[in-house]
């Protein structure tokens, strides 16, 4: 049987099986729930969300004013005479007497005041929009224009703030080329009726409403606003994309995870393993239907949102990444509850990796490490270049392929059906990649293969520490980067020592350390030149990838790090691993700090 045909057989079989186990009993109820969902959504839209009802108490002496706050459920209004209100003024967050607003001097009082001010603005707009002379009520209109400015990754170096605070009284002179601009026209190009309609729509809106229109995009009318409509641009609108695109993908990957887990429960997968299909065909065949479904879901969402279909390109590596992780988690978990918790934990990490960088979309090149940024850019209509695609997706492709490889080599009876805790199972997975005849070549390759994961973890720390003030962020980055690297280098040695206690002799340790050091350096070099050139040029880059300037120094460092951890392992056995890792991490950090000091005296 050829590989392609066995993949097809397995894929068809997987589809049929999940349809029969899920099908008969689940589909009717799922359809019923879906109908219920539509009904409930309609009901909720009708009745409104009653989450923040009655947060604030407000005392009012005038029924006319009470009508202003009546539509806002957040207020519970009490109508009373002025004297009685004043008497009990401490029971209220806000008291309005004769048109004077008094707010309690607490967090809550100020929050209530803010909300009331917004409601009042909405009310004023509502009244003014009915004026026959619109431009007397609204004499000032703002034409909002956005200008693009992408800062260099180098901008945050040496404590310089992003966005220049004006410290001189003289107007700044641009250093770059100045393009001639025609001043905007002073006449209003939009008819009064449309402006009126627009005004009637807005006013007194709830903060969360702004998020409903992110995907669909605004009309041309959005350009002109009255001053009170001028709301700050959404700084984090990408979170919507996380919900819309990433969450369904994660949800679907759960089915794959469960399918893998089900093969292991009660040795159900034995039949599958005894077929002539090789493990690679089984894994790929099982994953294929889910991959297709996820792609179709993304395409459907894209079409529904009216976004360009090219945004599927950056989503493909994300889908692969989710599937690869689902495979490993499904193969490694001991029980269902472990599966649940580990997958929730993984999804939090993956979501932060995908989401945080997109905050800096249009602002900073760091944003490009997340494929989701490409989606943001594409939806904005900017598109992305092939180079940017390579930058942001290489790590995802590389890690997914390696994880799939690990899954396939371990998709064997003795690995699948053993009952071991999560960590020792993961160690088993790693040790499966170390050959008995040529352990040092394996260690060399293993070290090279950990590089994409190391980069990914380091990128995550970079994203998280990037906003912390300068000296602290560098120290945190240095230490965490050192720890991640030392950890990655040590796992091969640790797995080998655990699998074969006799392996760890001084001679083998030395040879292994040299092999790992070379492998690590080779992997680093290879991936770095392929991808992250922009980031490596900055100071953050020199912290993370310091070891690249001269060849023999980092090589010695990498070997020394492994020797320290391995030495602890050799002397004190497995208890020595933790302290050894800390010691190696300290050596590595000190080396990095020494060179940083040297580079920036």
């Amino acid at each position: 049987m050829s590989l392609a045909s066995s993949i097809r057989t397995i894929a068809v079989w997987e589809m049929n099986r999940s349809m029969t186990t899920m099908g008969r009993s689940v589909l009717p109820l799922a359809a019923g729930l879906l109908i219920l969902l539509v009904l409930v959504t309609a009901f909720t839209a009708e009745s409104g969300v009653h989450m923040q009802d009655g947060m604030y108490r407000i005392g009012i002496d005038d029924p006319e004013i009470a009508r202003i706050v009546a539509p806002d459920n957040r207020f519970t209004a009490y109508l009373d005479s002025g004297a009685a209100l004043w008497e009990n003024r401490f029971a209220y967050d806000i008291v309005i007497l004769n048109g004077e607003v008094y707010a309690a001097d607490t967090e809550k009082g100020r929050a209530a005041l803010k909300t009331l001010e917004r409601d009042y603005e909405g009310y004023v707009s509502y009244v003014a929009a009915k004026e026959p002379d619109l431009f007397a009520a609204y004499p000032l209109w703002i034409d909002l224009q956005y200008v693009k400015s992408e800062i260099d990754f180098l901008a945050t170096q040496s404590g310089q703030q992003v966005g220049a605070p004006a410290d001189t009284r003289r107007p700044p002179v641009p250093s770059g080329p100045v393009e001639a601009v025609t001043p905007p026209a002073s006449a209003m190009p939009i008819s009064e009726e449309i402006l009126r309609e627009h005004l009637a729509d807005t006013g007194g809106s709830h903060p969360l409403e702004r998020y409903t229109g992110v995907i669909s995009g605004g009309s041309g009318m959005e350009q002109f606003k009255t001053p009170s409509e001028l709301s700050a641009p959404l700084p984090f609108d990408a979170i919507i994309l996380v919900f819309v695109f990433i969450f369904p993908l994660y949800f679907t990957s759960q089915f794959f995870m469960m399918s893998v887990m089900n093969e292991r429960v009660g040795r159900a997968g034995e039949a599958l393993l005894s077929t002539p299909a090789c493990p690679a065909a089984i894994v790929v065949g099982k994953a294929l239907p889910y991959f297709t479904i996820m792609l179709l879901i993304s395409a459907a969402i894209t079409l529904f949102a009216g976004a360009p279909l090219t945004i599927l390109l950056p989503l493909v590596p994300v889908i692969l990444f989710f599937l690869a992780n689902a495979l490993i988690i499904g193969m490694a978990s001991r029980s269902f509850k472990e599966l649940s918790f580990v997958s929730i934990f993984f999804s939090t990490l993956a979501t932060s990796y995908l989401f945080f960088p997109t905050v800096f979309a249009n602002t900073h090149v760091i944003s490009i490490i997340s494929p989701l940024t490409l989606v943001v850019l594409d939806i904005q209509g900017d598109g992305f270049t092939a180079m940017e695609y390579v930058y942001s997706t290489t790590l995802f492709f590389a890690t997914s392929i390696i994880l799939f490889y690990v899954g396939i080599t371990n998709f064997r009876e003795e690995r699948l059906f053993s009952e071991k805790p999560l960590t020792s199972r993961l160690v088993d997975f790693v040790s499966a990649g170390i050959s008995r005849e040529h352990p040092h070549i394996s260690l060399f390759l293993l070290a090279g293969f950990t590089i994409p994961f190391v980069f990914m973890a380091q990128m995550l720390t970079l994203v998280l520490f990037f906003n912390i003030p300068m000296p602290l962020s560098l120290v945190l980055l240095t230490v965490s980067a050192a720890f991640i690297e030392e950890f990655a280098k040590s796992i091969g040695l640790y797995a080998a020592a655990r699998e074969r206690p006799g392996f760890l002799t001084p001679k083998n340790l030395l040879l292994g350390a040299v092999a790992i050091g070379f492998g690590f350096l080779a992997g680093e070099k290879l991936l770095l030149f392929a991808t992250l050139a922009q980031i490596t040029e900055s100071i953050f880059g020199s912290v993370l990838f310091l070891s690249l300037q001269v060849l023999w120094m980092p090589l010695l460092l990498h070997i020394a790090g492994v020797l320290v951890t391995g030495g602890f392992l050799l002397l004190w056995g497995r208890q020595g691993y933790g302290p050894g890792l800390i010691a190696a991490c300290m050596v590595h950090s000190l080396y990095n700090l020494y060179f940083l000091m040297g580079a920036f005296p």
Partner: protein
């Protein structure tokens, strides 16, 4: 039903959770999120209300001004956190692109009492945190200018809104509303959802791993086993929710009526756990059960949100200390519904138990 047997099962499940270190993952998650709490707080508050960002910035920003003279210049002069530079438009825009200024305004030579509107063009940097700060500040300046223009054109107006006189509020902060009105109820709800997913894992695992027969050969009845598992999951709800409230307290966010909030969370959590148990008993297979349960959860959640005085709203009111004694009534109602569901689960478990060979 023997409560001692149920207690034994509960203890077994809790021990299993701690030995598998799944609890460790849950705690890691909580700590991971709390570690970035300052980033998340600023970030999430800003997501809820972008104007809140202004409160975090104390820097003065440069603004380029191009076009005709106008009273707008005096409005800018009133503020010390914006510095106005008179420039040519093309120079100003080039400076903006290099971030030498943070915004550019262009004012046409329309007279204040003209028939048509005054259209001011505002240039900002696209999709940028700093632009959000600038936007809030310039909005206040422009509102001042609008007020002035309205006074000039007042004789052309016909009706006037009821006037309210606001005190100086000193900067926009909607931190309170976000934390108390959204974050706290969601954080308190989270453990309830996690526990409900957990009960499905615990029950379906017994079926799929075929460990049920072994368990049924002991004196424990089927219903006792189910209630033992429910108890193990229920214990986690107030513990985790309490941990969140404690973490919030450490971050300086005091929550009123913590005990009452935990009570609401526990009762609501028990309702969800029983719902999960019912679904798991019906399907006896994790994938289907989790799928149906998560869909049902969305339906229940949406429905609950649409009802005034729902438990989530009560948690908000309790946290903000505006709940009246009415919350006890709602608590009793939810407890009643939970008891009804509990009865249904027991009856169903008894029926299932009879079919299982002892």
């Amino acid at each position: 039903m023997n409560t001692r047997n149920a207690g034994l099962i509960a203890k077994k499940e809790l021990l299993g959770l701690s030995s598998e270190k799944t609890i460790v993952f849950a705690i890691l998650l909580q700590v991971f999120i709390a570690m970035f709490s300052s980033f998340l707080m600023v970030g999430l508050t800003a997501m809820y209300d972008p104007e809140a960002i202004e409160g975090y910035s104390t820097v003065a920003y440069g603004v380029g001004y191009a076009g005709a003279d106008s009273p707008l210049i005096d409005e800018f002069a009133k503020r010390d956190d914006l510095i106005l530079h008179r420039m040519d438009l093309d120079q100003a825009l080039a400076a903006l692109r290099e971030r030498a200024v943070s915004a550019v305004v262009y004012v046409p030579d329309t007279p204040p009492d003209a028939e048509g509107p005054v259209i001011v063009t505002l240039y900002l940097i696209q999709n940028d945190l700093q632009s959000s700060v600038i936007n809030v500040r310039i909005k206040e300046v422009l509102q001042g200018y609008e007020k002035e223009l309205r006074e000039v054109r007042a004789d052309r107006m016909t009706t006037f809104p009821v006037s309210l006189n606001f005190p100086e509020s000193g900067g926009g902060e909607n931190f309170f509303e976000f934390v108390y009105g959204l974050l706290i109820p969601l954080l308190v709800l989270l453990p309830a959802i996690v526990s409900a997913a957990l009960i499905i894992d615990l029950i379906t695992e017994e079926y799929q791993r075929r460990t049920l027969e072994t368990l049924m050969s002991t004196p424990v009845t089927f219903a006792e086993m189910i209630w033992g598992k429910v108890a193990a999951c229920e214990v986690l709800v107030p513990v985790q929710a309490g941990a969140w409230l404690l973490l919030l307290g450490l971050n300086g966010i005091a929550v009123d009526n913590a005990a009452a909030i935990l009570l609401h969370a526990s009762v609501g959590g028990l309702f969800l756990i029983l719902l999960g148990a019912l679904v798991a008993l019906h399907y006896r297979e994790r994938t289907s059960a989790q799928f149906i349960f998560s869909t049902a959860l969305v339906v229940v959640f949406l429905l609950v949100m649409a009802v005034p005085y729902n438990p989530l709203n009560l948690i908000v009111r309790l946290a903000a200390d505006t709940a009246g004694p009415v919350h006890w009534l709602i608590l009793a109602l939810v407890a009643g519904a939970t008891a009804l569901l509990g009865w249904a689960v027991t009856a169903y478990a008894r029926r299932v138990g009879e079919g299982v060979p002892a």
